[in-house]
Symmetry: D2
Subunit: 360 residues, 4 copies
Amino acid sequence: MSFNSFGRVFRFSTWGESHGPAIGAVVDGCPPGLALSEADIQPFLDKRKPGTSKFTTQRREADEVRILSGVFEGRTTGTPISLMIENTDQRSKDYSEVAKAYRPGHADYAYDAKYGFRDYRGGGRSSARETASRVAAGAVARLVIPDVDIFAYVSEIGGDAIDPARFDASEIDNNPFFCPDPEAAKRWEKLVDEARLDGSSLGAVVECVASGVPAGWGAPLYAKLDSELAAAMMSINAVKGVEIGDGFAAARLRGEQNADPMRPGDDGAPVFLANHAGGIAGGISTGQPVKVRIAFKPTSSILIPVETVTREGKASDIVTKGRHDPCVGIRGVPVVEAMMALVLADQKLLHRAQCGDEAC
Amino acid sequence: MSFNSFGRVFRFSTWGESHGPAIGAVVDGCPPGLALSEADIQPFLDKRKPGTSKFTTQRREADEVRILSGVFEGRTTGTPISLMIENTDQRSKDYSEVAKAYRPGHADYAYDAKYGFRDYRGGGRSSARETASRVAAGAVARLVIPDVDIFAYVSEIGGDAIDPARFDASEIDNNPFFCPDPEAAKRWEKLVDEARLDGSSLGAVVECVASGVPAGWGAPLYAKLDSELAAAMMSINAVKGVEIGDGFAAARLRGEQNADPMRPGDDGAPVFLANHAGGIAGGISTGQPVKVRIAFKPTSSILIPVETVTREGKASDIVTKGRHDPCVGIRGVPVVEAMMALVLADQKLLHRAQCGDEAC
Amino acid sequence: MSFNSFGRVFRFSTWGESHGPAIGAVVDGCPPGLALSEADIQPFLDKRKPGTSKFTTQRREADEVRILSGVFEGRTTGTPISLMIENTDQRSKDYSEVAKAYRPGHADYAYDAKYGFRDYRGGGRSSARETASRVAAGAVARLVIPDVDIFAYVSEIGGDAIDPARFDASEIDNNPFFCPDPEAAKRWEKLVDEARLDGSSLGAVVECVASGVPAGWGAPLYAKLDSELAAAMMSINAVKGVEIGDGFAAARLRGEQNADPMRPGDDGAPVFLANHAGGIAGGISTGQPVKVRIAFKPTSSILIPVETVTREGKASDIVTKGRHDPCVGIRGVPVVEAMMALVLADQKLLHRAQCGDEAC
Amino acid sequence: MSFNSFGRVFRFSTWGESHGPAIGAVVDGCPPGLALSEADIQPFLDKRKPGTSKFTTQRREADEVRILSGVFEGRTTGTPISLMIENTDQRSKDYSEVAKAYRPGHADYAYDAKYGFRDYRGGGRSSARETASRVAAGAVARLVIPDVDIFAYVSEIGGDAIDPARFDASEIDNNPFFCPDPEAAKRWEKLVDEARLDGSSLGAVVECVASGVPAGWGAPLYAKLDSELAAAMMSINAVKGVEIGDGFAAARLRGEQNADPMRPGDDGAPVFLANHAGGIAGGISTGQPVKVRIAFKPTSSILIPVETVTREGKASDIVTKGRHDPCVGIRGVPVVEAMMALVLADQKLLHRAQCGDEAC
């Protein structure tokens, strides 16, 4: 089956293809009375927008969102919020070759195997263009959790990582890589540009931190906060790995190293002396910052020929022309933030449903 | 909210606490007519059972499963299958100290923050004992996907990894670590035993492979096969990271390295020359083996004192006496296999719902 | 919470308000490869369209549907189908009075009590205009169940029922009441017109029959076919009662009268000698026609003054000007048909998921 | 698919067959901290228990419930509550004839058509015995809505209705029919006894009222309070019709008769001068009593022979020996109450999720 909805009580459904007339999201379950207009959503879409530097795809999309329902006199009504973004720069002529043969790394073959045929124009539904819908929905989610601060950044491109000692959150928006380490950003300019000129592509690691999450959000056992975050992040195009807190590094620690010791805090809540857990224990938030780390594979669309087969089963080579991101992880940053917001908004409402308002 | 159900059409719900009278699972949506008896489930529970070596907890549980419904004359009827395992070796007296103070790394504080109080006996609902229910449900799931072969193993303990060159699947059941490399297994004996004697614990990495999955399973976009697997694995106690295929390593590859080239196969389906993708593209299986890698943190129950606070907010130290696994990842192996089976059975049925029988 | 989605594997979500820029539906889980264009949907919308006779509201809406996604080269792709209908004849000026006081029988007070405020223009989200979205989604559902024939009709208006002896299905589309009894249709002209001129309104009973449903559809116990139909029909604006088969009349029968005797049929399947059950036993279809009966209350918008209170809690009278249906049940006919199709399409796919293709 | 779960955030799943070792329910999403023991559940089960008079089946079941999880030190923990009731009086020898031929009115043929075979002992999963699980779950639901008062009664048996003028709620528990009119109760003694001695059975109408429901519960559009109630009630064995408020009678009223006029109330909330709507407008509660009316068909198990076919497709007659209720609607009363409680508890939590604590 196709499942294009996410969330349990704060839910969104997305629709649309890379080269259709429009894409969109329907956000359902949003609390009433929140101030909302297009201006609350547009900045997040602008951050994800293609064509803003030579390090992203050259497809030009204004990505202007329209609110078609669910808002009256500037406030959410509690009914579904329909968000639509028109596609304006689709160039379907580029895709004749893709129609005939499968691009390795792409969903081409898998979609064909599942559905018997596919919309080959720009990857159709499997295109990362869909993530604009999530970003729009995520902007609404942020309004539900005003006390939570979410930010993400790229911590590694092509295996070249930032220096944690030089981490400076204020630098993230000062370079085209969402990089918090200005020196790494400089190196990446060269790295990404070289890959682009080679017709190749690079992978990346994105990290996301949500602070201000109170202790108590999360729905054990099968809607654990970390489980939901893992599902949310792994659903993003090109993502191949998700870590909570120390993630795989925790597997190399001993118990006493991995424990996050607690001390009495000023306000009654404990203070933690470490955060190996990434703010989640037993699937429930602890009040510490929630930390997620996400691996993006290199963009599968490259100009270097790769062996493939045609729909008729003949051997062939394929190069993917058209306009592509040399490192799709970069534009993953606002998408990761959106998914974090969408999961947390849902979990806040779920917690309120079961336990009442107090901890929210 | 509490969400103790997993799956969309093949679904299971689990219930029970570490020190209650019993634990169990209700499996719903199972196809009718499958041969099923307790003997089909018990071997998987035996594999997860505690107390089988000095490398696992010394709690003694027979873990005998009873089928209470959903089977008639030896076959599934298509109605809910209720599975129950009685707890027989709970020793609640061990937990008086846990009632008073929070064990760092455990869910103690988070559950208290969420629910206002908690069942402190053995972790209550947050105990890994719950995973027996999943293993029982997973045994039913395997019957739904008879053509799929699933196996998991430990590939790393405490940072000491197997040598892929020495990988031998037939060795996995020859040692108490589910280790496919006999030399690593020998080293781990010493490693785990030392940690145990120190009152410490170790983390581990588990890998799981499912072969025989046809191309076409997976439900884009928000029930992608990889997204569901990530949710499933991250919902297991102590898991902090999930990778599909190359995972984080893919973030360090270039596009042409990461592509899985295709060649024409004998039966019409393409042959892939590599499997960086772990058998999933665009959230849909490609027909290659599905590969997942999971990070388990070290057991949080250790005898080395850790700073903590009491429920009253006073500073304290805590050591976790009682019976615990020195490396909880080891017994994670049958649990990971079960979650793989549960996701795949669900996706098979979802695929059949939308696309009909042909590809199943 | 707001829950604007219906269905389990064949699902749809609707959005939009009476006086917003547009309304729409997103249909998810549709099988791939079905021929679909706007022309497959428009006739059903035309049937529901307002303004076609003096017996329905005079609001003029073209109700032209656009398919924004999920169809490629004339066939469904298996991905979400976004359907949009622009509102063109909203006249918000009519609703100043409604903003101040609650219209009895309408959702005005309940929405205010729930959400703290409401979109009062034409009832906002609670307007029957939303049913156009369902009708559009229902047209897609029909493609999933091509062997099922669905038709509905009005069997009673204002207490004046058709004569079953004069039932003629071919008459249904020959009068503005979807009435299968031409003599009743004549009487209703006068009846409805008098109510309209009085500024009053009338209730109606709609009956719906689906033939060609094979035995075996339905998902016991909590997604029984009759339970899903009851939910579906009761979710339609103004509906206050649902009967399956003989419904309340069955409560007055004795066991031997109510039994539907079976005789061997030519093709192996039994032949039933009666259909008191309305084609459903134990929540599962029996192969007989599925029969549902639905009660619509009289339109709540009337010109006769009714006692009410203002938002400020003051006593007041209200008459509902604007353009309204004198008998909202009439235009309920295509909506009821759509909900029948949507439930059956979902159940067909659910059945196929669990039991395979054979019975579909 | 089989769907044995109901509810959205306050959810329950049931399992078990008429003649298996036990039946049960798992209640999930229950708020923490509620006082709960078996003694809170048992009285409701006792009310539904068979064998208490000659007007119900003579099967003897103690129907003793055990709580297996989710409660610690007498309070709900917020984790799943597993409830189990052992079957003690199954007599499978009675069912050899049922194995061979289909009982008209029962689910026998439909289950066979769906699943290919069936547990024929006492109807297996389709037995009304399952309703004990609902009643147990409903007892937990009542704890979630302590300010709501729910009661149901039989208003009609075999077409013989109570006199509303003689309605006396205190009489309901004074007779074996849950009848609020003592004179009707007397007539029914004779009526039901005659049907029983004839080997026949009678239908019934049950009415249920929930008072104390605040305005604002309900989740438009596809989880409307009335829609959820319709689904809940129609999922009960033998139910063929559901009405909200005036139901089908509303279809015979004019708009001004059906309107529930409002006047200012003392506490700010409006006072309604009538309740044709049954306490629900636009799918949301209005603060008036929620009223539902349910039609039960006559018990399908009768001693009068009915024409049927065998599994092999041969003509046959069948009489259903064994122990059966002559009027299954009578014991439907506690089941209807339970479903009302289960829907309202869920809707309360859903409302709290979206809109916060205030209106709860």
